[in-house]
């Protein structure tokens, strides 16, 4: 997307004002509304679709496989597919790297353990059907929703299989399947999220739109897990197809400010997502 110089300067001035004014009058912490649907892929353990008002759309599937825990580097494999982009393009590799490092650092892996030898491995596949702004936040939201709706078959063989050569046995009845979140009875299960924050002047804005991205001076990504700030945290140029022409260095102050802002609002994002899962109806409507 290219903006004209006049559009760019109007937008920059509006966003850099003491009291920022976004083109659609959103508050600095306000996300664009989304439409979500979960559990619509019968051959996956979990699935979610997230769509933004601008038409951006992400579909995530979670499939599981029983593995020998000792033979796996990680029990989670995350892949991102954006039609029109090669898998080794910077854009895709960057998104994949961020999601992989988020999930590897902030995930309750103990809940995937089945027996002393075996564990579930999760394959998380995100397809970006279309996008206009940097899609990382919504990829992480789609993963969050898919993980929350993931059901795994119930183990019926002995947990302690140290001595036996048998493979784990599962209940044939899918009715007995358990939500991933219920496997670990110790505490509530909340997958991690990534929030992208735009920097303009002294202002920070959540969920910058494609137009807003064009005048950002920098971008920060912040992760959220178990009700607290997590890693990765770093800065990034969100604009994929053109440079952010105003791109500048980032002051320590702005980093601290963005962390405070995330700390203040992220719990509400998680709350909204959890509520949306509660409200899902099973009417077979995908679109």
């Amino acid at each position: 997307m290219i903006l004209s110089p006049a559009e760019r300067s109007y937008l920059y001035d509006s966003l850099a004002k003491d009291e920022l004014i976004r083109p659609d009058a959103r508050a600095d912490y306000q996300f664009r509304p989304i439409e979500v649907k979960t559990s619509f892929l019968p051959s996956s353990n979990g699935s979610a679709r997230v769509r933004l008002t601008d038409g951006s759309e992400i579909i995530t599937s979670i499939k599981s496989k029983v593995v020998l825990a000792a033979e796996e580097k990680s029990l989670i494999e995350c892949d991102i597919d954006i039609p029109g982009f090669r898998d080794d393009s910077n854009f895709v590799a960057n998104l994949k790297y961020n999601m992989t490092s988020l999930l590897n650092k902030s995930f309750p892996f103990e809940s995937l353990k089945l027996t002393s030898k075996y564990a579930f491995k999760l394959f998380i596949d995100c397809v970006v059907i279309s996008y206009s702004s940097f899609p990382l936040t919504f990829i992480s939201i789609a993963c969050y929703l898919a993980l929350k709706s993931t059901k795994l078959p119930k183990l019926i063989s002995d947990v302690n299989d140290e001595e036996t050569a048998e493979q784990p046995l599962f209940s044939d009845d899918w009715e007995n399947a358990q939500y991933l979140g219920d496997l670990n009875d110790s505490k509530s299960f909340n997958p991690p999220l990534i929030i992208v924050i735009g920097v303009v002047g002294k202002n920070l804005l959540f969920d910058p739109s494609a137009e807003e991205e064009q005048v950002l001076e920098n971008g920060i990504i912040i992760s959220w897990y178990n009700n607290d700030i997590s890693t990765p945290i770093h800065n990034l140029n969100f604009s994929v197809h053109s440079n952010m022409p105003n791109y500048k260095g980032l002051s320590q102050q702005m980093i601290m400010k963005s962390i405070l802002m995330a700390r203040k609002h992220c719990a509400n994002i998680v709350k909204a997502l959890d509520q949306a899962i509660e409200e899902q109806t099973d009417d077979g409507v995908i679109f």
């Binding site: 892929l41 019968p42 051959s43 996956s44 008002t53 601008d54 038409g55 951006s56 759309e57 579909i59 599937s61 499939k63 496989k65 892949d79 597919d81 039609p83 029109g84 090669r86 898998d87 394959f123 596949d125 397809v127 059907i129 279309s130 995908i286 679109f287």
Partner: protein, 244 residues
Amino acid sequence: MSRLELYSPEGLRVDGRRWNELRRFDCRINTHPQSADGSSYVEQGNTKVICMVSGPKEPSNKSQQNSSGAVIEFNVSIASFSTTNRKKRSKNEKRTIELNTTLERTFEQSIIRKLYPRTTISVNLHVLAQDGGLLAALTNASTLALIDAGISMYDYISGISAGLHDISPLLDLNTLEESGMSFLTIGVVGNSEKLSLLLLEDKIPLDNLEDLLAIAIAGSHRIRDLMDQEVRRHANLRASKLVK
């Protein structure tokens, strides 16, 4: 594993259908109004496909311009999770390229290309789940999305697969059936008996071909009617909404 009986002596198939029954066919038009000129979603049994059409538009690549008519590009992408066993597919897989070419050939005939000189029409298809009849579902989703985009076409193209079990033709195969018998996929022009697509990659005795085509054409006509109902439902909804 004992060999599954694909067609019982009582005339029932693995999923309980009779020889001439279609699977559940569900389709929606205009599913992605914000991100495409035309869009659709098709479920044929457990095969699920999204289609998004963009264009006619200025070609991104000048060398692709054709002053006699629109250039039509298909781009099928098959999600790694679309099959029961997850499989990462390379974007240049031979199978995918074949699908793209087959669809391009089919729709080049049915789109009135000469109306759109020097433009590109790109049709992007996403396969979310596959359980047989993939090419047929892709064909149907493309027809609907092209209609939604307002692109001129001579007629609907409706697709279906049919296989031959011993000497009985079976309509609209699922994956299990496809792996156990010879089958073909056709695309039928509207309510006619003309084929704009015929894909047969297995051996079928010539004597049985006529029966097989007859049931496939009948199945395609039923699919056309179901798609036409959805187009009319959407059109009426729109007409009632557009208060000018």
